[in-house]
Symmetry: C2
């Protein structure tokens, strides 16, 4: 028996993992960045095989990790978390530096970054596990706290996108039927919950071009919970 609520008790940070070069690059929101050895310092990151950034990591043999702070703007999650870079340049307009390995490092909302050279790539099913040896690391801003996935869920009211290792189909979390006149609607893409009572506005009264404030999905992608 699997209780999916138990999986939320596993702690993660939130990062932009990026790769590529000055000509072309991409990045995505990842919650799976972990140190796997101390000598030498090596990190693992987990990436969906369909993920556009995975192609760049394979090509360049390197990736960067930007550690996001806890007040990271929602548009960073929209841009890097819920959209593919195949159709637009995610790095355009961002504050980007090119690291020692040549990969782009996103500096917006980042408190530190790491750069790693890939030493192994392991196939774990739908995802690839890239193991990278730490080449460079730098503090950018010591004062803010790092963003955690828990904070993202609780404060931003959002969940992992569909290609994340930690994605959970919202239907598995169980529907709760409310007895009040107010209703709640969940974005089937990112899990954001629109609460009529809190917002002071009926979901049905929202303009037709209203989109999910987290992932930008249209109103039709919401379901009543």
């Amino acid at each position: 028996m699997i209780d999916f609520e138990a999986l939320f008790k596993v702690t993660y940070g939130l990062y932009i993992v990026s790769s590529g070069n000055k000509d072309k690059g991409n990045g995505f929101i990842s919650n799976t960045v972990f140190q796997v050895t101390a000598e030498p310092p090596r990190f693992a990151t987990c990436c969906n095989k369909d993920n556009y950034t995975a192609q760049f990591i394979r090509k360049t043999g390197a990736f960067a990790v930007s550690v996001l702070h806890s007040d990271t703007d929602s548009d960073i999650f929209q841009r890097f978390g819920y959209k593919s870079g195949e159709n637009f340049n995610k790095l355009e307009g961002m504050k980007v530096k090119y690291g020692e390995t040549g990969v782009p490092v996103v500096l917006n909302n980042a408190i530190a970054f790491l750069e790693c050279k890939v030493t192994e790539t392991f196939d774990v099913g739908t995802h690839l596990l890239f193991i990278g040896e730490l080449n460079h690391s730098e503090m950018l801003d010591d004062s803010p706290e790092p963003m955690t996935y828990q904070h993202y869920r609780q404060v931003k009211k959002s969940f992992s996108p569909k290609n994340a290792p930690t994605y959970i189909n919202p239907s598995k979390l169980g529907k709760k039927t409310g007895s009040t006149a107010f209703k709640k609607y969940r974005c089937t893409e990112c899990g954001y919950i629109y609460d009529e009572e809190k917002e002071g506005k009926r979901f049905a009264d929202l303009p037709s071009d209203w989109v999910c404030p987290v992932c930008g999905s249209p109103r039709e992608d919401f379901e009543e919970i």
Copy 2:
């Protein structure tokens, strides 16, 4: 250039990873437990090759993960984090249940647990990365927050033990020479800092059988910082 302070911005939870069977088992404190695929749910855990628990995971092909809460007793870290189970039975006196896979699950201070069957084992150098398919997961107590490695460092004033993936030799963090009459001493085993000013007692005045409150190391293992 590597700034080791940047590595502390990567977020981890703290867990007891255990394996074995009713006859013999073991567990250790791990901060590297993370989900790597959603369909099916699979988890990775990273384990030093010298780690006694690694032998049990290899033998049984299964492991359990107990998610510790943020007020976890220091003796849990002493028992599971800084000592080897080769010389004593870590599970003795603990609240243990045997899961569906037959492995021991430590319930003390746990808010949830997972049980996984190993599907792959990857060699990443000094450590092994066990990939396990989730077999069972359960909530035990929904109210406390999970323990994070950051909380452990800040509140418990401790660091990773020597065989952890995130171990950092304290000398790499830089020595700070104090100008006050009070001094600070750091445990070279676990990183705990004894602050004379805060404790109101000179380090030299501590009894000879005094041990590190976190890992139980003798006084001789401390160095002035």
